[in-house]
Symmetry: C2
Subunit: 262 residues, 2 copies
DNA sequence: CTTACCCACTCGTCTATACGAGTATGCGTG
DNA sequence: CACGCATACTCGTATAGACGAGTGGGTAAG
């Protein structure tokens, strides 16, 4: 038997009115914060913690569960509980849809990812005609039907985001936009070719915990929220020509905006 | 005894390989999604669920704990478990620091909140001179010391955000900025009076689960992430004159940005 | 009528136990 | 040497029981 990894941990304070499982979580959290356990390190096993602290297994599991909810640890069945690795984050700049970034054959996602040294993939592409949800409908000026383009994005095999673009059907039907691959520059280039010169985007950002479906799609660890971004594109006539609804793994992204001070 | 509120729930599928506590959580989640339980409604008590499904209490608690992690439910000691109320969200527009919003006596937060019919409060105001963290230091061009202005914001008695502004000390010392109340228009107005005409802001947005300290400060329910926003203000000379580090309760905010399509 | 207490109900914490299922390792067999 | 299996470890799921602590309502005493 190897020396107890929990040698890094102290004892409980029986006089404290703080719950035992919280004290255990506190100790582990502090050990992680101070770097005594590092990213990807295995924490002491449940059995080791049971022996070290002299408590029951449920108490230990309760403590570990707390750390997972905080996003500090992830458990792997059959292996152990590990300090959650912090994956490299993808930085989304607010100028990422500027026209000058649109002149290439590849998608913005692909170009950016390759520049950052990652292996990009796009997945589960699906193009459908649909009746819009009330929210999407309102943003697009209440079209009867919309074209929906869904896809999932992965970096180095890890799903990081999935998105659906909605366009009024009267605008997108029988155009390259309705094709799985809309061609170089993506749907924004096509929209401009069709006379809808893009004027500006509105973006709305929320953060929340993922639904079970989102947990599956993005293979999210517990304790990882999602960023929900809804972007509306307007043409020079002030018409909303596209709404893009994106759900991102929050631990994979930082959004960057530059705002004028005027 | 009132009729079992769990009359709204079905039975378990013993042939399914889905864990019992997940099946129970699924049923409750579906009932919430379909509106059979509404915001603020009390879910069936642990005892009722134990009786209804014929399982042990820990299994039921496991299911309820899942819903809390997802942000769908909150438990209140001695009262019950409730469908989490969705508080009204505060919309942060990207032009909120425009000069034209700065000409009043009150803070942007106060004006905005009152316009929305809420009762704003600012709390825990603290102004200190400090050695900056490496991150803040790098953003401000490595000053030796900084002035830190901390405060907490509440709406209708609920804490929604807390923020710290950092300014290079050589710039802020012995100015109204070092006063608890920097005067009408806030520190941005003072900076401009001092010759630092503001040019633009950079904002970086992340989402993550709160630390225990943040849970206390913002009185967060479990299953509610935080939005972490770091704004850097630059003057016309390109100098970073302020960094504002803000942590917001994610269920209280939607951030809105308008971007040009150029 | 009002106050104070008790009780019933809620969730919170903790123990002890059992079995199942995924993983890794090493050993023995072919 | 290679493969497969046994085994020991990991976490996952579930049971049964106990006591504590916060809440609210009803009842009994003042």
């Amino acid at each position: 038997m190897p020396p107890l990894a929990s040698g890094l941990l102290g004892a409980l304070d029986p006089t404290s009115d703080r719950a035992v499982f919280r004290q255990i979580a506190d100790q582990l959290r502090e050990a992680i914060d101070k770097g005594r356990f590092r990213e990807g390190d295995k924490l002491p096993s449940e059995t080791e913690l049971v022996d070290h602290f002299g408590v029951s297994r449920m108490t230990v599991r309760n403590a570990l569960s707390l750390l997972q909810q905080e996003g500090l640890a992830v458990s792997e069945h059959g292996k152990g509980v590990f300090v959650r690795p912090r994956p490299p984050v993808r930085r989304l700049a607010s100028d990422r849809f500027a026209r000058r970034h649109r002149e290439q054959g590849k998608s913005a996602f692909t170009v950016e990812a390759e520049a950052a040294g990652s292996r990009p993939e796009v997945d589960g592409l699906e193009v459908k005609e649909e009746r819009p949800s009330p929210d999407i409908s309102a943003r697009l000026g209440s079209p009867r039907k919309v074209l929906a383009r869904r896809r999932r994005y992965l970096l180095d095999g890890r799903p990081v985001e999935f998105a659906t673009s909605y366009l009024p059907l009267d605008l997108a039907r029988n155009t390259p936009i309705a094709q799985p691959n809309p061609g170089p520059g993506g749907i924004y280039a096509r929209l401009e070719e069709m006379g809808h010169r893009l004027d500006h985007f509105d973006e709305e950002i929320r953060a929340r915990m993922p639904t079970p479906a989102e947990v599956r799609t993005l293979r999210l660890a517990s304790g990882v929220p999602v960023i929900h971004l809804v972007r509306t594109a307007y043409d020079a006539d002030g018409r909303a020509v596209e709404v893009c609804d994106t759900v991102m793994a929050a631990d994979a992204y930082v959004l960057a905006y530059q705002l004028p001070a005027t």
